[in-house]
């Protein structure tokens, strides 16, 4: 069986496990609903600018992702199944299987936030350039997942998991956050697709650097 098949099998195991235990899904859904409701009450009748809207959108995504993406390794550690995985899968299989799962979770999360925003803030959350918005959401999700996966693996080995994860994540994700907020504001303002190419280049570079670096580091994080 190829390494790819093993990776897909691990991804499939995590999806089935998540659907049964709801380790991350419940936290994710509750956080999204609470955060969007709080923003709705805070805004009252004010009409925010596209820059403020895109900032609020990614703040919700960031904190929701921080509350759920670390579960992918923490749940293995807490259940004592880390060693079982070490026995059956190579580090690269584990890394990419978990990365695929976190990517799927983040894409679902951003789509859920988009749908909620469109329903709740229908008067002013209008995506004028859909191509920029959806490319940003896709690349942003990949970026979040690539950073979150390696951080989750590191944090799972620590004693102070709850506080360490967001503290470590912020400096690593700041470049990604600034870029996706900028690109989302462009989509809401209705700029041409070509205007966002610079942002997309930064996002692609970030994803490649983060995934490549994580792949090289993961072996050492995972084993001892």
């Amino acid at each position: 069986m190829s390494a790819f098949s093993s990776t897909v099998a691990l991804f499939s195991k995590d999806v089935r496990s998540e659907l049964r235990t709801r380790y991350a899904l419940n936290a994710l859904l509750m956080f999204v609903v609470t955060a969007v409701a709080t923003i709705l009450f805070a805004l009252r009748s004010d009409v925010p600018s596209p820059t403020v809207l895109s900032g609020m959108y990614w703040v919700v995504v960031f904190f929701t992702a921080m509350s759920s993406l670390s579960r992918i390794f923490v749940s293995e550690e807490e259940r004592g199944t880390t060693m079982t995985l070490q026995l059956v899968a190579s580090p690269s299989t584990v890394y990419f299987g978990k990365l695929f799962f976190n990517t799927a979770l983040t894409v679902s999360l951003t789509l859920a936030v988009t749908v909620l925003y469109t329903l709740v803030f229908s008067e002013f959350f209008i995506i004028r350039t859909a191509s920029i918005f959806f490319v940003t959401v896709f690349l942003g999700s990949l970026g979040f997942a690539s950073a979150a996966t390696i951080l989750a693996a590191i944090v799972a080995k620590a004693n102070t998991r709850g506080t360490l994860y967001p503290v470590l994540s912020f400096p690593i994700l700041i470049v990604l956050l600034m870029t996706v907020m900028n690109a989302t504001a462009r989509a809401l303002e209705g700029e041409a697709f070509s205007e966002a190419m610079g942002d997309f280049q930064i996002l692609v570079g970030y994803i490649l650097a983060m995934t490549g670096g994580s792949y090289m580091l993961f072996d050492y994080v995972w084993k001892d």
Binding site: S6, K13, R79, G80, L87, V88
Partner: protein, 207 residues
């Protein structure tokens, strides 16, 4: 029959600057069984973890050869079976699902539903194979660990506290597994129990 040899050379391990054991060396081949004995905290379980590839030694190395050819780190996973108290299976899956899911993830592995069911039957879990592991007793979980360890017919079987939580019937099945493994491959078990140590042809005192 494959000739499997496991050579341990100058193995040392330390945790937080405390040396657990130093300079452990031995060789074991197909047809042999080795009992690792020693006081609590002497490093038996740590040595088992290093042999199974989930811990890296501070010094020294472990070499597996099959018919004289050295096998790499990724292939070792399909050559080793491990049963130990610190190994856990997934509570949210049934006994059969655990075996099939882990078999599909295992590098170079494949799903063997018939073999999985046969092993569950052998360890007395056939009637409960579709129940979630969450509802298993500690003895049933130990039996399931044996089914998981033997699923891919490993050349090297590592057992840490092999009969913990097992009843008399379970211990007898384990005894049979140990006899079979000694004929076809390598067996290493870590124990403080004199009866279990007597199952093996050789002993190594971990100090």
């Amino acid at each position: 029959m494959n000739q499997i040899t496991l050579t341990v050379s100058g193995l040392s391990k330390e945790f937080n600057r405390r040396m657990i054991f130093r300079n452990v060396s031995f060789t074991i081949s197909t047809g042999e069984a080795l009992a690792l004995t020693g006081k609590n905290g002497s490093g038996k379980s740590t040595l088992i973890k290093i042999l199974s590839g989930v811990l890296t030694p501070f010094k020294g190395n472990v070499v597996f050869t099959v018919n004289g050819a050295r096998i790499g780190p990724d292939d070792i996973k399909s050559a080793i079976g491990l049963v130990s108290p610190y190994l856990q299976l997934y509570d949210e899956f049934t006994g059969l699902e655990n075996l099939l899911v882990l078999s599909s993830i295992r590098s170079n592995g494949s799903i063997r539903a018939g073999r999985a069911e046969a092993l569950l039957d052998r360890f007395g879990l056939a009637a409960r194979q579709h129940d979630l592991v969450r509802g298993y007793s500690s003895g049933m979980k130990q039996r399931l660990k044996y089914a998981f360890a033997l699923l891919h017919a490993p050349g090297v079987l590592l057992l840490d506290e092999p009969t913990s939580n097992l009843d008399a019937e379970g211990i007898e099945v384990v005894r049979q597994v140990v006899r079979e493994q000694q004929k076809t491959g390598v067996l290493i078990l870590a124990t403080n129990d004199e009866d279990e140590a007597a199952w093996c042809s050789r002993r190594f005192q971990v100090a």
